[in-house]
Symmetry: C2
Subunit: 292 residues, 2 copies
């Protein structure tokens, strides 16, 4: 994999758009989330407004269910005790479970999947498509971020967010609004102690992890932003990477799978390469290696 | 799901066989692993011998790679520094990646899978089968335990064990010897801080988690054993459970998946029900609810 990444060109990578990048800051680090307005425009607009108003600042991570999800938001159970939404944020939104597939560039995986007629990537997000119904939706993989809801389909407004930290719960696809995915820092969430209450909610308030702030990168001073590039999923380099994972060529593997599941495909990220002038000043700076 | 479990009969459950049950005891609790001698007889025999000799006692958990595996064994890098194997344990074993499917009761899942011609369960273990080659093997799902190896296929001997703590890495199927699965306590492993060295190994020895003991349940006094029952995967109750997960009937779900992946199927466990006479003495004792 590293060989393929080393051979990429600058144009194979894109920088995260600050308008679509959310920072979840905890005492021990930052989780970087890329938002997907192409799939959930109303939810993403609301999340931007909630972040701008500081809605989540001082709230907490309230749930960690093993092999499933970590969830944050307002821990208050009664509506009357809940933190008021900030200026510009809506209490009610439409469900955004799927969208028309027209107008989406869909980089299809070669392999079959039992959950959807077609799977692949849209702008770096794991996604699925139904050519007959002409719909597309984001898939629940490790790192996928969605908006928690109650029984009513339109009962999410983006205040309660969860991230998948276990085996891909694809049964949630088309059942809940997916708003993006974690691009960096998921290990700050995936190691949180599992809650012992129903659904993995913490029983004691002291077990919750405080949220220092959730902000849109565009609202954060430039020098405090996290510089990340992600490999474009429409590039030959990405296709080559997928094929290298479908059939592993290194000596360790004795049996080639000839297959990969959507949620097993790595989505490489890196720190932007240092420009030559700067590189001379700081010769030890290197692009961070993509994980796995 | 709970309704289906509540309707089960005593015969739908089986007690773990103490000869095939391994206890990994940490300072904060116990991980219970069921071994699979039907698939890896040589490795399981060696693991029993290693446990009997106290091989792992005082060794440590040395690796936690996010969305992949946690691994334990001897952290020494040089062979000369490694703990000697105990009496009866072999240094070299054959690879046990797959076996003949003859003689196995294979409870097949109704759904397709891109990794194998057929998937299902053998005695409660997620497994796969190739009818043409007449072979079967255990699948890498969340909780699957395997024997780490180097490049040579026959370089594992069961001293280095790993457990899957992320998205099912099915590309490992037929490439490494699977020895069993975690039945209880995986949350003690899945929350371990991720190692920052290559492959998630801990950089500092102090970051490793000490292993108090790994013992075969049969070698542990009865009163110190953990009583667990697992739902038999060949029962109508299990088939009903699978179907209830393929098509979720509760009000929350708006779209039925009509599908389930092998590694999404829950494998229910419970504490053995309290016998009526004892129940009268301890009316508050209840069968532990199966997770998820």
């Amino acid at each position: 994999m590293q060989e393929i990444l080393d051979a990429t060109q600058a144009g194979d990578w894109r920088t995260l758009d600050p308008k679509n990048t959310l920072y979840l800051d905890l005492a021990n680090g930052r989780v970087v989330i890329e938002l997907a307005p192409a799939f959930a425009p109303a939810h993403v607009a609301n999340i931007r407004a909630l972040a701008k108003s500081g809605y989540w600042n001082g709230l907490s991570i309230n749930r960690s269910q093993d092999n499933f999800v970590v969830q944050w938001g307002d821990p208050a159970e009664d509506d009357k005790d809940r933190k008021p939404l900030g200026r510009g944020a809506k209490a009610k939104l439409p469900a955004e479970f799927a969208r028309k597939s027209d107008g989406l560039v869909f980089d299809r995986l070669p392999d079959a999947d039992g959950w959807a007629p077609e799977v692949g990537f849209v702008d770096g997000f794991p996604a699925a498509r139904d050519p007959a119904a002409k719909t597309a939706w984001m898939a629940h993989c490790y790192g996928t971020v969605g908006a928690g809801r109650d029984v009513a389909a339109d009962s999410s407004n983006g205040t309660e967010l969860y991230v998948v930290t276990g085996q891909s719960p694809r049964q949630l696809d088309r059942n809940i609004t997916v708003v993006g995915r974690v691009v960096q820092g998921i290990e700050l969430l995936s190691v949180l102690p599992r809650g012992t209450g129903p659904l993995g909610f913490y029983v004691q308030p002291t077990q919750r992890t405080p949220i220092q702030a959730i902000r849109l990168a565009a609202d954060v001073p430039k020098k405090e932003r996290t510089a990340i590039e992600v490999l474009r999923t429409g590039t030959p380099a990405f296709a080559e990477l997928v094929e290298a994972r479908r059939n592993r060529r290194d000596d360790w593997y004795k049996h080639m799978a000839g297959h990969i599941d959507l949620c097993n495909v790595p989505l490489p990220t890196r720190a932007p390469p240092v420009a030559p002038a700067q590189a001379q000043k700081a010769p030890s700076a290197k692009g961070k290696k993509a994980r796995k």
